[in-house]
């Protein structure tokens, strides 16, 4: 049916993927960074970033996708995101209680650099969610079992 050298999908899908996967990643980063000004936030942005890598894996096969983000790196990034979120919360002890919003009034409202720790928390959550969902997807799709495939 298919020669063994062809991985991934057909040529049309590969061409379109090359054009759009960078835009999807950029859109995800935009939704994360503007989480305190417009709808979105860390969770939706993290899922969109994971979807861009999944798109790459579905169109080009697993070798190409693992060159961009290997499985070991995905585990490391996910733990790093969780640790960053926890350390931002614990640093609030400097101000008196858990989750204290230090540098609160260092920017005007409705600006990109405002709202204290909320953008930092959004970035940490997006890294965690994105890497974690990509690790789940890579493990589920590439599961071979004991070799009994149809």
């Amino acid at each position: 049916m298919r020669n063994n050298k062809e991985v991934g999908m057909t040529l049309i899908v590969k061409t379109i993927t090359r054009l759009t996967v960078g835009l999807i990643l950029l859109y995800g980063i935009y939704i994360v960074l503007h989480g305190h000004l417009s709808p979105g936030g860390g969770f939706a942005g993290g899922v969109i970033i994971a979807l861009s890598f999944i798109h790459l894996m579905l169109a080009f096969g697993r070798e190409m996708a693992f060159k961009k983000l290997s499985q070991a790196w995905a585990s490391v990034l996910e733990s790093l995101g969780a640790l960053m979120f926890l350390s931002i919360a614990l640093l609030g002890f400097l101000g008196g209680y858990f989750f204290f919003n230090f540098f609160l009034h260092k920017g005007k409202p409705f600006d990109l650099f405002s709202a204290g720790i909320i953008p930092l928390c959004n970035i940490a959550i997006s890294i965690k969610v994105g890497a974690g969902l990509f690790a789940i997807f890579a493990a589920l799709i590439l599961f071979q079992g004991s070799g009994k495939e149809e």
């Binding site: 417009s38 969770f43 899922v47 969902l133 589920l140 079992g145």
Partner: protein
């Protein structure tokens, strides 16, 4: 009132699917429908007629916003639902690999 009733009808369709179907994938689909119905119910409770989305705009005084607390609760619930679905699907794939079938009556009878 009728919106709440329709939402609970959606919940009971999912409940029927979880109770009566024999295929594991159908049970997972029923669980997904139950989650959708519960998230919708939360947001329905917090709606306000002629309300506005809970986002402030520059130089505008907004006095009638919808309730933002159910939205904050449902936001995390949606992502948790995805994680739970992925975990159940992983277990179902393992079950298929070990027993060769998705039928839950046969899985119960095989021992060892």
């Amino acid at each position: 009132m009728i919106e709440y009733i329709l939402c609970l009808v959606l919940f009971s369709i999912g409940l029927y699917c979880v109770l009566r179907k024999r295929n594991i994938i159908k049970i997972i689909i029923g669980l997904g429908i139950i989650e959708y119905a519960i998230n919708l119910f939360f947001v329905l409770v917090g709606y306000r007629i002629h309300g506005r989305a809970p986002i402030l705009a520059k130089d505008q005084l907004i006095t009638n916003m919808v309730d933002p607390i159910p939205q904050a609760l449902v936001l995390t619930s949606i992502v948790i639902g995805l994680a739970v679905t992925a975990l159940i699907v992983a277990i179902a794939i393992r079950i298929y690999e070990k027993y060769g079938t998705f039928d839950i009556t046969k899985i119960r009878r095989l021992r060892g």
